[in-house]
Structures are given as structure tokens and as C-alpha cells.
């Protein structure tokens, strides 16, 4: 049951990305580029998502347990470090240049492989994203630890 609900969560999330326009890199770029003819649609994604998530998280976090009475694994809210800031800064740059954040990149990858919605070249995008993640987790983090 847990696993099927998890699967359904992924399904709704993916469908939400597609329906909202988040999975369309051009729409993302037209949202971020306010100096061109601006498309503010994607602000409505947060407007739709956050109130729903706010209520849901309040419910679960006040219970301190999942609906199956298991532990929550939620990150803290108030610890700040340089990595949080610099990482987000770099992500914003990449996001604006490409129009892809991680979720939509996955949707694009599957869509291209499955439906032929685009060149094979575009699939290298997701592979590059995974490489970027690995460079951080496997190389950068270890280099920092050694210092």
C-alpha cells in the first residue's frame, strides 16, 4: 500500500509538472526572462502547490508520524551554511540557461526516449545533470572532507 501511494505521489507530481508547463523549458525561460515579453504563468504553480502542501505538512508534522505510524524523515529548517547558499546560486544560473530543473529534466528524458519527443541530443541533458550530481557527491564532497 505504502509503495503504491508513493508511486501515485510520483504520478501526480509528474502530471503536475506536465500540466503546469514546468516541464517545458521554453516556458521556464519565458518566466525567468522578465525583460522579454513576460509569461508569469509559472508563479501560479507555487500558488497552487504551496497552500495544499502547507496544510498537508501541518497535518503530518503535528502527528509526528506517517499515516502508517512510521517515523518521519524530515530535514531541519534553520541550519544555514555556505553550501546551501552557493549551491542554490549555481543551480539558479544553470536553471536560467537551460530551462531545466531536476524534475522536469526527468520528465523530458522519459518523454524523449519513450515518445520520441525530441532529439537524442536532448537526452544528454539528463545524463549531464546526473554527472553534475555525481561530481558533487563523489568528488567535491570528498575533496572538502580531506581539507
Amino acid at each position: 500500500m505504502k509503495n503504491y501511494l508513493t508511486l501515485f505521489a510520483g504520478f501526480l507530481f509528474g502530471l503536475g509538472l506536465i500540466v503546469s508547463g514546468m516541464s517545458n523549458p521554453n516556458k521556464v525561460i519565458h518566466f525567468l526572462d522578465i525583460a522579454a515579453i513576460w509569461d508569469p504563468s509559472l508563479a501560479f504553480v507555487m500558488l497552487g502547490a504551496i497552500p495544499v502542501a502547507f496544510l498537508g505538512f501541518r497535518w503530518i508534522e503535528s502527528k509526528h508520524k506517517t499515516i502508517f505510524n512510521e517515523e518521519l524523515h524530515l530535514p531541519g529548517k534553520n541550519h544555514f551554511n555556505a553550501d546551501l547558499f552557493i549551491g542554490s546560486l549555481l543551480f539558479g544560473i544553470g536553471w536560467a540557461i537551460t530551462g531545466f530543473c531536476p524534475g522536469p529534466a526527468l520528465v523530458a528524458f522519459v518523454a524523449i526516449l519513450n515518445l520520441g519527443n525530441g532529439s537524442f541530443k536532448a537526452t544528454s541533458f539528463v545524463l549531464a545533470m546526473l554527472v553534475g550530481m555525481l561530481i558533487h557527491d563523489r568528488i567535491y564532497k570528498h575533496l572538502m572532507k580531506r581539507r
Binding site: G10, M46, V107, L115, G132
Partner: protein, 147 residues
């Protein structure tokens, strides 16, 4: 500079509905598994090979399979755009590498920080979201108008 709205591409309702779906997805995941719906975290954790408690991979694979199914449905309903790469390929790859690296370094992306984090009133996520939004808008301005 004055704002000109692109009314032709403006889709407030679809984006709002998509946002609500994303919100429901994140509530479902925290209710079922006690986890934050954050794609960079889910994908990044799947790339780990040294850390394998029992349920480390399973729920994440179920979740991604849900996304996979959503693209099939989205494709069937012709909601998914074509992904064509028209601009400079090397720059775009560098951009996506930044997305992967930055989201892992900053412990989250648009889903984990900007939806779940803000919904939980996490100051940490607020800082991350403001940072990548700021560099996103700024980079878009510089990249699409001066480079």
C-alpha cells in the same frame, strides 16, 4: 524597463491546477513515507552505492516509476512539448551540469525547497529559494539580452 505580459502564452489556470497536483503529490509522499518530495534528493540518493539500508532504494524507485507513468499519460494526452535544442550545445550542457551540482550542494531544488520547504515554513528553504530565483532571473536577463 517596463513589463510586457505575454498574454498568448499565459496559462494561469493550467499552471494553478498543475501546482495543486504537485502539492497533493508532496502531501501523499510525506503521509505515506514521511519523506520530502525533492527530486534532486531522490535522484541523488539513488546514485549512492555505499549506503544501502533496506528501504533506501525501493520507495525512490516506486516514486520515479510514478513519474514515468505520468509521462506516458501526458504523452497520450499530447501535453508534452517537443524538446529541441536550438542554442549553443556546450553552454547548455554546462548549464545542466550546474543544475546537478548546485542542487546537490544546496540540498534541494524547486520541488524540495520551493514547494515543500516553503510550505513547511523552513527558513533554510526560503534562503535557498530566494537565492536560486534571484540568480535565475538575473542570469536570464544577462544571458538572453547581453550574450
Amino acid at each position: 524597463m517596463s513589463l510586457i505580459i505575454n498574454w498568448n502564452e499565459f496559462t494561469p489556470l493550467a499552471s494553478l491546477v498543475g501546482g495543486v497536483l504537485i502539492g497533493i503529490g508532496s502531501v501523499l509522499l510525506v503521509a505515506a513515507k514521511g519523506r520530502i518530495l525533492g527530486i534532486s534528493g531522490i535522484v541523488g540518493s539513488l546514485l549512492q552505492t555505499n549506503n544501502t539500508p533496506q528501504d533506501h532504494y525501493r520507495w525512490r524507485v516506486y516514486f520515479l516509476f510514478g513519474i514515468f507513468l505520468s509521462t506516458l499519460v501526458g504523452g497520450f494526452l499530447s501535453l508534452i512539448p517537443k524538446f529541441d535544442i536550438t542554442s549553443d550545445y556546450t553552454t547548455l550542457i554546462a548549464g545542466v551540469l550546474l543544475v546537478g551540482f548546485g542542487t546537490r550542494m544546496g540540498s534541494g531544488c524547486t520541488s524540495g525547497h520551493a514547494v515543500c520547504g516553503l510550505a513547511r515554513l523552513s527558513m533554510r528553504s526560503l534562503l535557498a529559494t530566494m537565492t536560486f530565483m534571484a540568480t535565475g532571473f538575473l542570469t536570464a536577463y544577462v544571458f538572453y539580452h547581453f550574450i
